[in-house]
């Protein structure tokens, strides 16, 4: 059964560096994925997303003319997005907090830091299958829930607008400014 899953699973690799793109393709093929599609920037990736309907996307952050952040924003929020829920793993050599936060805030599902290690790549792919994240839609965000942990015993302090223990579903009612 597992081999069959690998057979039908489709991945889209978006990376402007041809060497890194080839490396990622080789790694995914080595894992057993047969359908790996490639693009060198966000604009062509968006078209490929519509054509190929991949199950997950591996994208670089820095690309021209459309980078990984803008690509993710389009996938999550464009009215013609073919799949706003597709898991997006962002690969980045950027360790600067600002860039990582910007990527998180447009709806990236997982991050994979360069240099890529086999272990980290496998773990990120396993994560999107094993623990698919709930999505959140509010005034200024649509994407995977950015909170990774929910501790039932957590006693506060409560900093977020939707941090009310009794009922998370009605939580966004207040905006703290």
């Amino acid at each position: 059964m597992t081999a069959a899953v690998f057979d039908y699973l489709k991945a889209l690799v978006v990376e402007d560096n041809a060497h890194m793109r080839a490396l990622l393709r080789s790694l995914l093929h080595a894992l057993g994925l047969k359908q790996v599609y490639e693009c060198s920037d966000g604009a062509s990736a968006y078209n490929e997303l519509r054509e190929r309907k991949p199950d997950f996307v591996l994208t670089d952050l820095s690309m021209k003319p459309v980078d990984g952040i803008e690509f993710t924003r389009m996938v999550r929020t464009a009215s013609d997005s073919p799949n706003p829920y597709v898991p997006i793993i962002m690969i980045t050599g950027h360790t600067e907090r600002q860039r990582v936060e910007a990527a998180r805030d447009v709806g990236v599902t997982e991050f994979l830091a360069k240099p890529i290690t086999v272990q980290n790549l496998l773990l990120r792919i396993a994560e999107i299958v094993d623990r698919p994240r709930a999505f959140v839609r509010c005034d200024n965000y649509f994407g995977p829930d950015r909170r990774r942990r929910r501790d039932e015993d957590y006693a506060g302090p409560w900093r977020r607008q939707d941090d009310f223990k009794d009922d998370l579903a009605i939580a966004g009612d207040l905006d703290i400014r």
């Binding site: 894992l31 829920y85 360790t95």
Partner: protein
């Protein structure tokens, strides 16, 4: 301080199309986390190592040209490619030193300050020596990476002091 706003909508993962479901998902994850998967992926990297090391050396040459020309933006671009690829193919020190150079150039660019040529050239020289000599086994490159990181921290501290004055 508190303002009314629209509710936040939570969309459970079960209610949108996911990658793999149910028993298939468990088997898939188990297969991904298996030693066999790690071995196959490691072999895939190994098969490309020679080609990728050559690519890193090309980036190193381009970095040297950019640094000599005083083109910091181009130097950042080449160093960024090196930090992305080098460690994956075993050129650990070269990758770390390139990362240090990127952090240095990035920090100064954000502050609108110009970079110290000596700091750049020390990094470029260390990256080139480390990548070409393949001295990873001696760990010399690692020590150089640590020393240069200390130099960058010192220089960035100086530049903050200058900016504060």
């Amino acid at each position: 301080m508190f303002q009314r706003r629209k509710k936040v909508e939570f969309i459970d993962a079960k209610s949108y199309p996911s990658v793999v479901r149910g028993g298939d998902a468990a088997q898939f994850v188990s297969a991904l986390k298996s030693e066999d998967a790690s071995r196959r992926a490691a072999r895939a990297i190994l098969a490309r190592t020679s080609q990728l090391r050559d690519a890193v050396l090309d980036y190193v040459s381009a970095l040297e040209r950019a640094a000599r020309a005083g083109d910091d933006a181009a130097a950042f671009g080449e160093a960024h490619e090196i930090r992305g690829l080098a460690e994956t193919v075993g050129l650990v020190a070269a990758g770390r030193i390139a990362n240090g150079l990127c952090s240095y150039l990035d920090a100064l660019a954000e502050r609108g300050q110009s970079a110290d040529r000596t700091v750049i050239m020390l990094h470029v020289d260390a990256i080139a020596r480390s990548a070409r000599a393949e001295d990873e086994a001696t760990r010399l490159g690692g020590k150089v990476a640590v020393e240069l990181a200390a130099l960058v921290a010192h220089k960035l501290g100086d530049s903050l002091d200058t900016a504060a004055r």
